[in-house]
Symmetry: C2
Subunit: 361 residues, 2 copies
């Protein structure tokens, strides 16, 4: 464990602004996700209502804690992907069946699974902040966070069962298992500076991209689309999710705390071997490698070390390299949408991949 | 939090031997569960193989931690119930379909769900012992226990999806949500001496009996039996589960540590308002109530308090009363099997209800 608490904020002067090669105009980036939100606006509103309805429980602490996390904020990025994928695939159509709201309910499932993993992650990471607010474990305690996470996970499966598609259940139960594997692998690679970039990508794929992929894929399933469309959307989600997590890992060494909405330097304090660290370690001289071995591998950290980590990562342009990798994955995500004909929705999904790379948080 | 660690063992001299009214011969009780095990022996062996096979993961820590809990021990009581219920209902028969091993795989699902909740419970309770061995969280840490619990839960759903019965998925996903609700309710009633016996039974039903009920019910489902048989087996499991948990709560103030295979007095240290405490509190004089208010409600405990708790519970015969309640529920469980015609298997299930009440652990 680090020598100081993870709630200690980092001086803003230590943060490195993200400098992306050829960044689109900031307003354009925000508008691009906004376009996606606008195009599925009524669906997203219905999804939010379903989320609140289905958090209900006679056990009063459950909706209270869940509301703290689920109802209070977040970009709803994953349910947004389910809704967009379903509409891109023409849902509802004659083949889809149901009442025209299956994609809404499955989007809520996806958000419940995501929320359950967030609650458990924050317990595992001992996080104090989530989306700029005190994390659920900080407010309600670790015990309640573990158990309400379990409830949300179970509730997600109840919603899927009510939907009645075994194919959807297959995709999302496999994703849930893959997420847990990714999280455990992350734990196993913690403090291990010999982690390869491939293994790091396994962690990223498991803990983040698998659910992005599944969220998109089930959109195609409810629309009753053929396997090729399903696979294209799964590929889009997978690559988008990898890009998203790469940028997240870069921002933990780059963004200022107010912008990111979480404590900066968490990954460093937890000894996570994310790509910025692996790149700086690989490029470092003997003294620098000794620094990383003490702070990350041995977990011996003092107050001044985070600033030094920021300096080394900046010196080796590890943020820029990480963002460049993210940009490559975003381009692969965009390429996967080539199967679909041009439309405002397809364009908004292409733009969402730019958003993943250029977002401030 | 209590003033002393939960790993401090209690002197055996302080423990109260369970004294059940009209106990059957000890050997007979053990034999009665043994009869059930014997009657579904090949099924149980197949279930154990399935459990080991399906714990597999490329992430090496997962099977290692899971094996510590799942493969190393336990009575397999819940999968045993699924197997017995399926056979009592005539599985496999023409209506059941499949390869004759559906009940085995669903029994493994039930054990995975149970194991996931155990891993999370031990994190929530900060337990040091489980089945007489160091608990998984004590060996592998809380982080790994939370995440491997999530994995086992997801894997259980993958197994159910592969089985393909939406009815089974409905029953077990509802049970999973109910378990989480029961655990959260237990957290909410912790330290609350005004907890009513009805609310206590809600906790017991949620955290334990719901999975017993579901385990039995899915046995009837895979056998393709009518709703009446399903409901009878769900009722048997529900009442058996309540009896089982009541006895568990009694043993935490009664058994010696070596017999119980877990630290005695855990419930006291955690301020759980289980029936023995609620009964002793209700029957206590002013000084005794002040003792419970300090130790359970306010959570202020010193080394000598557990011995005093044992004395007060003994003085008010709260163990005997709790066991008597358990006996009533066991009788209701037995009555629910009246629907089925006499057979060695039915007799073994009747005897299992006696085992739940009279077991040493």
């Amino acid at each position: 464990m680090p020598a100081f608490g993870s709630s200690v904020p980092v001086g803003l002067a230590e943060s490195v602004p993200v400098r992306v090669a050829d960044p689109p105009h900031r307003g354009a980036v925000e508008d691009s996700l906004g376009a996606l939100v606008g195009l599925v606006g009524p669906d997203l509103a219905a999804c939010n209502r379903t989320i609140v309805e289905r958090m209900a429980s006679p056990v009063e602490l459950i909706p209270r804690l869940a509301a703290h996390l689920v109802a209070a904020g977040g970009k709803r990025l994953r349910p947004l992907l389910t809704l967009a994928a379903a509409r891109l695939c023409g849902y509802p159509d004659a083949a889809a069946g149901g009442d025209g709201l299956r994609h809404v309910r499955l989007a809520a499932c996806v958000e419940f699974i995501h929320s359950a993993t967030l609650l458990h992650d924050d317990v595992v990471d001992e996080s104090q902040l989530r989306r700029g607010l005190a994390s659920a474990n900080a407010v309600f305690g670790n015990q309640a966070s573990v158990l309400v996470g379990d409830f949300l996970f179970a509730r997600a499966f109840q919603l899927m069962v009510a939907d009645g598609s075994l194919r959807v259940l297959e995709i999302l139960s496999r994703a849930a298992a893959t997420i847990a594997e990714g999280e455990v692998l992350q734990l196993a690679t913690q403090n291990d500076l010999d982690t390869s970039e491939a293994r790091y990508l396994d962690v990223v794929t498991g803990k983040t991209a698998a659910l992005f992929a599944a969220a998109c894929q089930v959109g195609a399933v409810v629309a009753g689309r053929e396997a090729a469309a399903e696979q294209a959307l799964a590929e889009y989600g997978l690559k988008l999710g990898i890009a998203f997590q790469l940028v997240d890992d870069a921002l933990d060494y780059a963004a200022d705390q107010a912008t990111l909405g979480k404590t900066v330097g968490d990954d460093f304090r937890e000894g996570k071997t994310t790509l910025p660290v692996l790149l700086a370690y690989a490029a470092g001289d003997a003294a620098e490698r000794a620094f990383w071995e003490r702070t990350i591998a041995a977990g011996e950290q003092s107050e001044a070390d985070l600033a030094q980590a920021f300096r080394l990562i900046r010196a080796h342009r590890a943020i820029e390299t990480t963002i460049a990798r993210a940009r490559d994955f975003a381009a692969e995500a965009q390429a996967a949408l080539g199967l679909f004909s041009s439309s405002p929705l397809r364009q908004a999904m292409l733009d969402a991949a730019d958003y993943a790379v250029c977002r401030a948080r």
